[in-house]
Amino acid sequence: MGAVSLKRNDSSSVLTVFPESLPETVRAVISSYPHLVGITATHVANSIELIYSFDNWKGEMKHLLVSLPEKGAAVESISSQIRGAYIYEMEIRDMFGVSFIGHPLPNAKLLLPESYPQGAPPPLLKTVSLEQLMQILNEVQMQEPPSSVIPITGSSRYSVESIVILPFGPYHPALKEPEHFAIALEGEKIVEARPRIGYVHRGIEKLAETRSFLQTLFLVERVCGICSFHHSWTYTLAVENLLGISPNKKAEFLRTLVAELERIHSHSLWIGLLGYWVGFDSMFMWLWSARERIMKLLEMIAGNRVNKSFITIGGVRYDVSDEKLKVVKREISEFEKEFRRITEEVMSYGPLEERTRGIGIYHADTAISSGAVGPVLRATGVPYDIRKVEPYGAYPEVSFDVVTGNRGDVLTIAEVRVKETFESIGIIQQLVEKMPSGNPVPSAFFMGTSKDGEAFARTEPPRGELYYYIRGKVGMRNPYRVKIRTPTLPNLVLASEAIKGYTLSDVPLILTMIDPCFSCEDRAIVYINRKEPFIVKLPRAAPQGIGLGCSL
């Protein structure tokens, strides 16, 4: 099922590894478990515990446990074996102060604000409270008014003559969310792109440790405003598993129903925006107006369009009547007709195909080593979908296909998303047909305390595998640790690989092909030490003029 407890005594799935032997163990493990799901760090007593989780594409996981002393925690980086690991390691370095030996960006930070002082304790350590952190950061802010200069991410090894480093963002017309890229250009060709995220870092993982299990549900729902339901669902799955609660069948069906509606709205949103990015505005408008039909259904079912707060620990918050299900059935078939007409028209439109075919090509190997997930990975032919490999909710009861493509580029990803939307429509029709009876609403909201233990859960949001890890301590009202690994983080590693060799005009298309959601990944922040020597120095004022207000 979608949620599993971590059984530390089960040696077939959990291996305790000495820090020294981590690299060789990883080498042995990835031959049969090639997908790195994530690295989870937790501060317990006097040590920092790292859990490296791998998957073999079949839903069987292998966890490597490494325990490091709190003071001077250091371990070998595994990014030379799995490229995508570097971004997870940076996150842990920021949040826990662990150093990774042999990391490609040794002095760089990933997620904390620029004003975060060097000597301040890393935010997720248990020894520092939220109030103390606030105090430290407020003091710094009082002393130093925020600089209006956008930092250029990392050093560059290029000479000034041939290479121009162009700041892209954080506020750029092509990006709906703040995000900064330092793009190294040779003529018009991109030789390197370095992301710098952290603009929308809100410190959710730390906040979650101070709120009760039920309050955290509303908090994690707001990690991302597009796949909000999947965040709350994955969290709920992990909590239910930890506490041994199971919802009834109708609740499972209703959760799945809302999740699939969310996938449809998210995919039509992205396909519409694809039109916007290539300058095909009618496509954007058509798809978004079709999408309104789905939003109306969500509003009818949950009372809100975006952050639905529909799920609760042990069930859902409202029942859905048969009349409403009839409306869902009718509207979804209307949507299908409309969506089919629009996508048939736009996807066969020559200029759109020309603009997107062969843009941002990448291979399955690159995708796998970046840790990519979701439609981006499936476009290269890897049929990895959590709904199939580790079924949860009502997915075991419905039939659907995992859509794959045969080549990674913008066009294939768009085709995969279009087909997935049709699969989702099919799932919704089956769910409405087979809807069981019963009362899905628990008699009371969960207000209790936790048990000792740890659990994780995975789901398949529109952007790909989402992973939550929750640790509880007996008698506590709030979780001891909540770790969120969102799909955009590994996908971003892939996008910055795939962009190399293309021209500046392709930047918005390639960066957005992964359907990035920076608010997801920015729960933790990235910050690169400015003292790191720049070989190419930009005048301090330059980023302002270029980065803002003028489209590339």
Partner: protein
């Protein structure tokens, strides 16, 4: 407040500059949704512009995080007078659910003046439409001495 055309907060056809100061994307998507056919604020002459120098209204979504503060100030300064700040969503109004996070400063009114708040998580595009319409029809009062203004009751 008196409706006096010389006191217009913004001229007709208000142009918007959208700034995500740390939100969850929910509000941003609803702002974009209000541009699309069902709500269509463009019929009021509102356009989402790419340059703050062309904008009348700064639309801010999300709580202000420490990292975005510098950019927020910079963009605010670039918008020509008279300008209005529209805080869309509970987060932008007060910090919302993220209030108390170490990287969150709070609502937009903590750092900017003349903020009109539209709470909601996120507010419905219908709501966003009706506020833009009030700008268009000049039905919003000016700011009071404290620098904050609230939409008048109809």
């Amino acid at each position: 407040m008196e409706k006096n055309s010389s006191l217009r907060l913004v001229r007709r056809s208000p142009w918007l500059f959208h700034f995500n100061s740390g939100g969850c994307n929910g509000c941003d998507i609803e702002v974009v949704a209000s541009l699309t056919p069902k709500y269509d604020v463009e019929r009021l002459g509102a356009i989402l512009t790419s340059s703050p120098k062309h904008a009348d209204i700064l639309v801010v979504t999300g709580p202000v995080t420490r990292q975005t503060l510098g950019s927020l100030r910079m963009i605010y300064d670039q918008i020509p007078e008279p300008k209005v700040v529209l805080a869309i969503g509970t987060c932008a109004c007060s910090g919302g659910v993220f209030r108390g996070g170490y990287n969150v400063i709070g609502g937009v009114d903590k750092v900017l003046k003349n903020v009109i708040c539209i709470p909601g998580c996120p507010p419905n595009p219908r709501m966003i439409y009706s506020i833009i319409k009030k700008f268009y029809e000049n039905q919003l009062g000016g700011a009071d001495e404290n620098g904050s203004s609230k939409p008048e009751k109809e």
